[in-house]
Every structure is written in C-alpha cells, then in structure tokens.
Amino acid sequence: MSDSKRVRVVFESRASRIALVLFALGVIALAAAPYWGGRDDLQLLAEIYAYAALASLWNLLAGYAGLVSVGQQAYVGLGAYLLFALAILLGLSPLWALPLAGIISGLVAMPVAGLVFRLRGHYFAIGTWIVAEVFRLAASQVSLLGGGSGTSLPASMIIAIAPSRALRDAVEYWVALALALTILVAIVLLLRSRYGLALKAIRDSEVAARCSGIDVMRTKVLVYIVTACGTAMVGALIFLQRLRISPDAAFSVNDWTAFVIFITVIGGIGRIEGPIIGTIIFFVLRQTLADLGTLYLMMLGLVAIAVMLTAPKGVWGLIAERFGFSVFPLERRVILDDGTARK
C-alpha cells in the first residue's frame, strides 16, 4: 500500500483535545483539594470518585461487553473484606493490602466466571446476584472478622497509613483520586486497544465477530475479570475510609449496584463520559433531596425508568449526538495528507 505513509489514524479531534486539557486542569484543582477543602469536602469528593469509578467499571461490563451484572457488590464486598483480612490477620499495611485485594479478587473472579458464564442474558444478571449473596453469607460466617456484625480496623492499622489525622485524610483522598483516574485511563486504553475493537464487534453482532476470528468468550471473561479487580480495589478503599465493615454494608445491592446502575443509565450507558456525568447528577440530587429518604430512592428509580424509556442513551448520549462531541474519543478517524478527516 503506497498510500499508507500519507494516512494517519487518530482518536483525538480539536474539540476533544480542548476538553481533555480542561479535564486535566480540573484534575489538578481536585488534586489540590487537601489544601483548599475541609475534612467533609475531602470525604464527599472521595465518595464521588468511588462512585464514578464503580459506575465506569459497570459501564465497561454492561455497556461495552454486554454483561449486565446486578452482582458487582460481590467484588465491592470481597475487596473490602480482603483488605480487612490482610490488615487484621496478616498485619499488612492497608495501602499495600489495597492492590493485593484487587489482584486476589481478580483471581477469585476466574472460577466465578466459569460458573456465571453458563447463564446468558437476564439469567446471567441474576446469577451474579446469587454469587454476591453467597459471598455475603460466607463473610458473615467468618468469626475472625466479626461474623454477621462485622468488625473495625484496629487503631494501629489506621496510624500505619499516616501519623496525623490531617495527613491521613489527605493520603486517603489522593489514593481515591489516583485509583479513580487509573481506572478511567485503563478503561480508555482497553477500549482503544484491539480488545476494544473486539468488544465493539461483539456488541454489533456476536456471530459476525466470531466469524472474524474473535474469541468472544475469552474477551468477555477478560473484561469480567478486569472489572472485578477494579471494583474490588474501589470497595477496599471505600471501607478503608469507613474504618468499619459488616457483611450487609459491604455486599449491599442498593449501595453498590442499584445506585451504580442508575448513575450509569442516567449519565449515558456505553459512553466513557456517561458514568462521570451520571455521578455528578446523582450527587447533586443526593445533596439536595437525601432528606426525603425512601421517597428519594423511589424518585431515583422513576427517573432511571423514564430515562431508559425516553432517552436510552442518557444525558451524555443526548449531548454527544447533538454536538458530536467526546472528551475521551474511542472512534478512530483517518486523516488524509490533504488534511481532511474521515471517520
């Protein structure tokens, strides 16, 4: 191909580059939060990062790999319990236990995938939920970690993170920000790699993808394991900040799956930016309406249903379709040497 020298394949556009610079500036401002924010601000922001990360991971699983799971709380809880087990039983520093919890959860996800992948579609969804229930019931049988009533992180472990409380808050905050960013970048890179292309092909037509030589099962299992690993690290971090764990809190289907699904769907499923927008909307609603309690949850359910029925691509889907705009473009564009771009 003599033309190949004069053709470039890129992801970025001018608009996306500007957006990315703005995003980077925002991240820098957020990274400085320990210098401008109070303790409450840091905790709220860390929680926002955790939800953005959980929603991004669920989006990868459901929106890109077509694996609609309602059992991701299995890995939130598993990661959290592993962190507490490694810290309390083995005396490992929590900051080391965090990545380790992710790796072990990834390993656990392999045999679990072997089981739940026998179920398809909707049945897969409920199958993952049962796995989460098994994990929850198993955790409440572990008397070393407090059984059904749970346990707290010992003071010596808390001090091991950082000597002073202010420094500890800052360290945990930075870890939360770094983890959320790492997960976001990892997802973008994964989707831009050949696995991303494979996922897209599978989403469009599983049969056609298989005919093109894509190992559909292997690709899906890979995404499932990667997601489990990330979800577990986020879970470990959430409960490291709470300092206390119990099976019902760690494996809560409401907190770690219902909210995460609503966030992703309202923000826009199948787009990188969707979960981030969704998280912002979710927290704005929560900060203003949380006093309503159960009524707030009912409203959230109604909004999610309404979005699914009337605008299934979510808020970001509407923006992206109207303006053809993307902060983290995944589509390849071919640039010819005369400067014209083709999709």
Partner: protein, 288 residues
C-alpha cells in the same frame, strides 16, 4: 426420624418456592423477560392481603378471592403500560426497568408499612397437624400450601397445553411476528401472561405471609429462590420447576438443620452445584 422430618419440611417449603418460580418461568417463556421486581411483587401481594384481612375482617384464604384478581389486574396494566415498551433485542431496558420497579415497590412499602415485620393470622389452621407416621407430624397449613403449589403448577400446565390462551402464549413465544400475522395482538397476549404470572404471585404472597413474618426488604431473596428453582429444574419445564423448588427447599432444610446460619447458603450452594455439573438443569425442555 429427625432427618425424615427435616426432608418433609423442606419438601413442603419447596412447594412455595415452586410457586415463586412458576410466575417467573411463565413470563420468561412467553416474552423472554426476567422480572427483577418479581420478589417485590410477591411481598406487595402479601401486604395487600394484610390490608384486606384487617379492613374486611376475613381470613387469608378468603382474601385470595380479592388479592388474586387485584394482582392480575396490576400485572395486566403493568405490562400494557410499561413493560411492553421495554421488549426488544436489547436486554438492558427490561432488566433496568424492572430493577427500578423493584426499588420503587420496596421503598414504597417501606414508606407505607415501615420496616417492622408483620404476619398474617390464619387462626386455628396454623397450629393444626396431621400424623403421617409414628413421630412424624405435618402441619395442615404447610400441607395445604404444598397441595396448592402442585395444583398451581398443574393448572399452568393445563392452561399452556390445553387451552386457546396457552396456544396463543406458545405461538407468541415461538415467533411473535407470525403470531401477529395470525391475528394475535402480542401486546394483549403479553399482558395476559403477566396477569397470569401475578395471579400466581398473589397466591404465593398470601402463603408466604401466613407462613412467617415478612417485611418490605424480603423481595429480592424471594426472586432469587424462584430463580434458583427455575434453573435447577431446567428452563421451560413447569414440572421441572416444581422439582427445582423441592430440591431447593430440601437443601435449605438440611443446611438449617446442620447450622441455623447455613440455611440460605445451603440452597445457593445446591444451585451452584447444579449450575456447575448440569447447567441445563435437571429436567430441561428447550421451549415452553
């Protein structure tokens, strides 16, 4: 003797699980929809029965005469107004909408009835027992519940294979487009399937409410039991679903007998073993 009792109790509870499962299996068979709110609808039916027995002063079994048609009507409208709009190739909309519905029902019940657990009083029948053999006694109510479960499964089997309605269900399940060409209104057929499913849910809900304490948070667990019974029994087979319910009930009873904390876990593990060894279920039948 002890173990025989445990297994009998398990079988009797299993009938209830089979009823949870039958409604689930029915709508999946007809329109490939898994209703995540199924368990919450069971609990809703239980609360409906509670309100009716208290306001009218009638017994739970008489209340069935009102709860069953009421739930069937809710099912018809739910499908016609909301769920029909979610059906299609994409599996996310039905899953998400029924998931949202589950959250709405659960929190709605929580708002109206609080988190306190309640129970339906059935009177003297609750403590009546019959002697099956030396040392083996069975409660009249669990026995009745089991008989009703078998009757419900048998009734569904009859509707499916012996009536015009069942033929419409099977035709729509096989090929919705052709069924429509033959003059069936799919939206109506689907709504009737959901109505039938929720009629079964209503019966299951009333027996659940009489058997034990219940509260608004119990729905998801009922959904999971029903789902496990469907998969253990094998997709598409109604009698298989009954067998699946019984196996689940017996597994839970054995687990509970060994250690009270293992009851639910034992049921899940039985399910996972079946999934690992025989993923198509014990009595599979490809089409309903």
């Amino acid at each position: 003797m002890d173990w025989i009792n445990v297994i009998i109790q398990g079988v009797l509870v299993g009938g209830l699980y089979a009823m949870f499962a039958a409604g689930l299996s029915l709508i999946f068979g007809v329109m490939r929809l898994v209703n995540i709110a199924h368990g919450d609808l069971i609990v809703l039916a239980a609360y409906l029965a509670l309100v009716i027995t208290q306001t009218l002063g009638i017994g739970p079994l008489t209340a069935l005469l009102i709860v069953v048609p009421a739930m069937a009507l809710i099912g018809y409208l739910l499908q016609r107004i909301l769920l029909n709009r979610t059906l299609g190739d994409d599996l996310l909309p039905p899953l998400l909408v029924t998931f949202g519905l589950s959250v709405i029902i659960q929190n709605g019940l929580l708002t109206v009835f609080t988190a306190d657990s309640v129970k339906l009083q059935a009177g003297a029948i609750e403590v009546d027992t019959v002697r099956l053999a030396e040392g083996i006694y069975v409660g009249v109510l669990p026995l009745l519940q089991f008989a009703v479960a078998v009757a419900v499964i048998g009734g569904l089997q009859f509707v499916f294979y012996r009536t015009a309605l069942g033929r419409a269900f099977r035709a729509t399940a096989d090929d919705p487009a052709v069924a429509q060409l033959m003059g069936l209104d799919n939206r109506h057929v689907f709504a009737l399937a959901m109505a039938l499913s929720l009629a079964v849910v209503a019966i299951a809900g009333v027996f659940l409410a009489v058997r034990a304490n219940f509260d608004p948070s119990q729905g998801p667990a009922r959904l999971i039991f029903g789902f496990e019974a469907v998969i253990v029994g094998g997709l598409g087979s109604l009698w298989g679903t009954l067998a699946g319910g019984l196996i689940l009930g017996v597994a839970q009873a054995i687990g509970a007998h060994l250690n009270p904390g293992w009851q639910i876990l034992a049921g899940h593990i039985a399910f996972l073993i079946v999934l690992a060894v025989r993923p198509q279920g014990l009595f599979p039948k490809v089409r309903m």
